[in-house]
């Protein structure tokens, strides 16, 4: 934290942010007039069903999309220089199978990621950081030596994406459904890794998911999204115990029974 007298600017600040695709009759409002702010060190989950605009919002935060209307800032500044933005804000994407370029080895792609850093590590240091990243997700660096993306399983690939984050050590992580493609056991592991990231690196994490049960366990705050709008937000307990929006109720009802019993207690 910079030592200045005024209150630090929030990590993300959105005011009436709208992101649309297409024009005329085919106009789609993916994100519709959304306002929020996320403080340093928070874990915020954006929860919603398919096509509610949560991934688009995540990409706006990443600077991959630019909002059409409204104000969006990162630590008080609009995202203009994407390179320096990605130096601090990084992401784990949804589909681990399509995340890597199949023509290059995993290791070379993990090393390639370090190019985004402002202070470029030396070759030896880059190798060491990639090794440390792999170790952090319980993968022996030797095991993936010379391997290509299609030679790994979905769970392993998902862990490669997390290894990339451990190697990069960003200040903010936007995790877009990092557990959607893996089985329950690997999912628990991945959540462990995410918590480890938060504790070790003091990261701010934005967790995008369709699973409100999962979000309940990991987050400090929940945003419920529906058709591009944030229909409800609050602490996990507030949102799950006293849902205000029918869409939240719907999401809660869709959790498998065993969780529901647990939540009602």
């Amino acid at each position: 934290m910079p030592n200045n007298s005024s209150a630090p600017a929030p990590v993300f600040y959105a005011k009436n942010v709208t992101k649309t695709f297409g024009h005329g009759k085919t106009l789609v409002k993916a994100v519709d007039d959304v306002s929020f702010s996320i403080a340093d060190g928070e874990i915020v989950s954006i929860v919603g069903g398919s096509g509610c605009g949560k991934s688009v919002l995540a990409k706006v935060m990443l600077g991959l999309y630019k909002q059409n209307q409204g104000e969006f800032t990162y630590r008080g500044k609009a995202i203009t220089d994407t390179r320096s933005h990605w130096n601090e804000v990084q992401s784990v994407f949804q589909d681990p199978f399509s995340c890597f370029n199949q023509f290059f080895s995993i290791r070379s792609q993990l090393k390639d990621a370090l190019n985004i850093l402002k202070v470029k590590p030396s070759k030896a240091e880059a190798d060491a950081r990639v090794d440390a990243g792999l170790m952090a997700v319980n993968i022996t660096p030797k095991d993936i030596e010379g391997k290509y993306p299609f030679e790994l399983s979905g769970g392993q690939m998902q862990r490669m994406l997390l290894a990339r984050i451990f190697a990069l050590r960003p200040k903010v992580l936007i995790a877009d459904e990092p557990t959607s493609m893996v089985d329950a056991c690997v999912r628990a592991n991945i959540l462990d890794y995410l918590m480890k990231l938060k504790v070790e690196l003091g990261m701010t994490i934005v967790f995008v998911t369709h699973d409100i049960g999962l979000a309940y366990y990991v987050s400090d705050r929940l945003f419920i999204m529906h058709e591009g709008k944030i229909v409800e937000s609050g602490t996990p307990d507030e949102v799950t115990q006293h849902p205000q929006s029918p869409h939240t109720v719907q999401l809660l009802e869709d959790i498998p029974e065993i969780h529901k019993e647990w939540l009602k207690r």
Partner: protein
């Protein structure tokens, strides 16, 4: 990659196509070492095939086998030249427009469509006939290449646009890759097999276009091509009186060459696109 190659070598049509193509290339490159190519006037007009002139002579009494070897070399040269020009230009524009989207894409599309609606063969005729002097083989190749790149641009654009929203592109971008790196390292490799197939078709269409334009008398003035042999046969009465050697061998060579390229393309499509596999 090696697996793809193995699959290709298992496909009989690929073997046949490649065999025929290598045969013609080999003929063009190696035959001059074994056969004395002589384009001089050596016998009487339209001398029939005999022991000395295996495929007879043309209207000027030039040895037909020598003419065909020279013509084949010219046709392959034109084909490769137009193939390289049309594929490079089309791929570069298509991949850039498809990836960038927005007004850049609209602009590239506009230019492509403009070129696409102008019948390239007419342009070819107009340019060729306006250049009555110094119409060389290279110039003809350049003109064909510069008028036929459009459909490779279209095809590549569609493919690049479908790749653009893939996660590995987003990951490459947040890894800090610039547009050039994304295009060359993260999109082009995925399209490589496709671009190669386009290249083969462009070579084939280049050979055909050159033959057609030469056949109607607007071909290169500096050399012999398979098309100019046909043009000579047409203009100098070679189509009559059973003088098959005046036009038949050239026609067969063009047909075999283009046929070989087309079945190479079809068999590659079968291997690269598993949905078409039987």
């Amino acid at each position: 990659m090696t697996k793809l190659l193995k699959n290709l070598l298992k496909s009989p049509s690929f073997i046949i196509g490649m065999g025929l193509f290598l045969l013609t290339i080999g003929g063009a490159l190696l035959l001059p070492f074994f056969y004395h190519v002589n384009l001089g006037l050596q016998a009487s007009s339209y001398a029939s095939p005999n022991g000395k002139f295996l495929l007879g002579c043309d209207h000027l009494g030039r040895d037909m086998v020598s003419m065909l070897i020279e013509g084949l070399r010219s046709s392959l040269y034109v084909g490769l030249l137009t193939g390289v020009i049309a594929t490079t230009l089309g791929t570069a524009l298509g991949i850039y427009g498809g990836f960038k989207g927005g007004w850049m894409d609209d602009f590239v599309n506009l230019v492509t469509n403009l070129f696409l609606v102008i019948p390239s063969f007419v342009v070819l005729i107009l340019i060729s006939s306006s250049l009555s002097k110094g119409r060389s083989l290279t110039l003809i190749g350049l003109i064909i290449g510069l008028t036929t790149w459009t459909w490779s641009a279209r095809a590549v654009r569609a493919q690049a646009a479908s790749l653009k929203s893939r996660d590995h592109i987003a990951l490459a971008r947040i890894n800090g890759a610039n547009t050039f790196r994304v295009l060359t390292l993260h999109i082009l490799p995925y399209l490589a097999s496709y671009v190669f197939m386009i290249f083969i078709l462009q070579v084939a269409s280049g050979i055909l276009s050159e033959a057609a334009i030469s056949m109607i008398g607007l071909g290169p003035l500096d050399t012999v091509s398979l098309g100019t042999i046909l043009n000579d046969a047409k203009n100098q009465g070679g189509f009559g009186d059973g003088m098959w050697w005046a036009f038949m061998p050239a026609t067969v060579i063009i047909t075999v060459l283009v046929f070989a390229l087309y079945i190479i393309n079809t068999s590659m499509e079968g291997v690269f696109n598993p949905r078409l596999r039987k």
